[in-house]
Amino acid sequence: MWEFFYAPDQWAYGIYKAVETWGQSVGIPVSLIQLLLLIPVAVILLAFIFLNVMFLTWMERKVAGHIQVRYGPMRTGWHGLMQPVADAVKLLFKEPIALPGVDRFIYFLSPMFMFTMAMMVFIVIPFSPGWVVASLDYGLLFIFAVSGMSSFFVLAGGWCSNNKWSLLGAMRTVAQVIGYEVPLILSALGVALLAGSLNLTDIVASQKGMWNIVKQPLGFILFLMASLAEANRGPFDLEEAEQELVGGYLTEYSGMPFAMFYLGEYTHLLASGAIITTLFLGGWQGPLLPPIIWFLIKCYAVIFIFMWIRWTYPRIRVDHLLQFNWKFVLPLALVNLGITSLVLVL
């Protein structure tokens, strides 16, 4: 058990070796074993995501409640802890209605991929030493690639609904997401410069003595803001500004497709927390406690900040949002990158 917490890489390698030895004794080729081992990895990863996301939905409601001086869900379980389960069961039994004017194929497809893409981020995140599903050399690039994909599915979902509000919400979302993607990438590049690598494992390792938040304070703030916008969190939650747009791109969605979008969004939130943790907060590093615990603590701290901001600040107007990005955040990100590289060279 100690090994599991404090030396997870050795633990995992031990299991791998054991299975491989067993497989060779039975006569299964090594490559097939490696492939088969991916299945438990996937199960664990998915379980991790599902648990956390369920917890997050509950947490959001609790945080919102307490900020607004009320309790939030209280009846299901201890302090309403079972509320997400109840929601899930309820959604499972609801009829998935697709209206006649809807492009059915895309209608069902976009939430599916929305979730999948959000999930993909986790396969390059090092949760603990050695605990990374795929240690890509261009991990950072991969993260931006898949998280950028989500805007496609938002747009597709809004477009296929055949509803003016949906389309408008989707358009806004896309304008916002792609706009903030640029400073997001630029401020992350500062971190990559410090680490000299785009591999997330290396980035975590490079923060051994000092977290990047210290070296890159401006980058951290910019990244945080851009992440908020990327995840469509308040004050940048224009896509579903229910006062203006009914439900944004989700207007026509119901039942499981709706739940999948919902799930996707919270997965995205979790991913944002994980990315910030990895890039700026030293990843799993920390004293005494096991790495995975450290990772979760930092991640939840970030997510709590997200929620705090969402329920504290009013929503920004769409033009302000875009101008804020192009005229303020982006130049600052460029400046940050320039300073970082200059300091590194000199």
Binding site: L92, F113, M119, A134, M171, I178
Partner: protein, 143 residues
Amino acid sequence: MFTAGAMLATLLAVDLGDCLKGVNFLFEFGKIAFFTLVGVLLVGLIYFLNWFLSPKTVPTQLRNTAYECGDPPVGSGWARYHLSYYPFALLFVVFDVEAIFLFAWVAAFKPLGLFGLIEVMIFILMLVAGLVYAWRKGVLKWV
């Protein structure tokens, strides 16, 4: 079963031989393909459950109406969106694509040194000039 697995393995990765020792580029991407598949299958499964468990109602005229704040819908659902989105998309393309080169530069930052820095700075300067141009030309104004 083994044959199928081996085929799948071949499809996903070229050579799984010693992937734990060094990172096998294609195998890592094979994992990505695998997880995409997993995600899609999982959601598909949930869809199936939902379809299996949910009640089926008979569609009526009212139920088939798009939701527009309770009013009967007017005009096409595919409304024309505002052209103002377009310049932003263009700007995004410019800067996002710029990032490709920056990634490459970051990956080779140390060997390139000052020379690379100057080149990238010139590159960024030109992009900034473009941004300033767009700004001053009023592209960033939301009309």
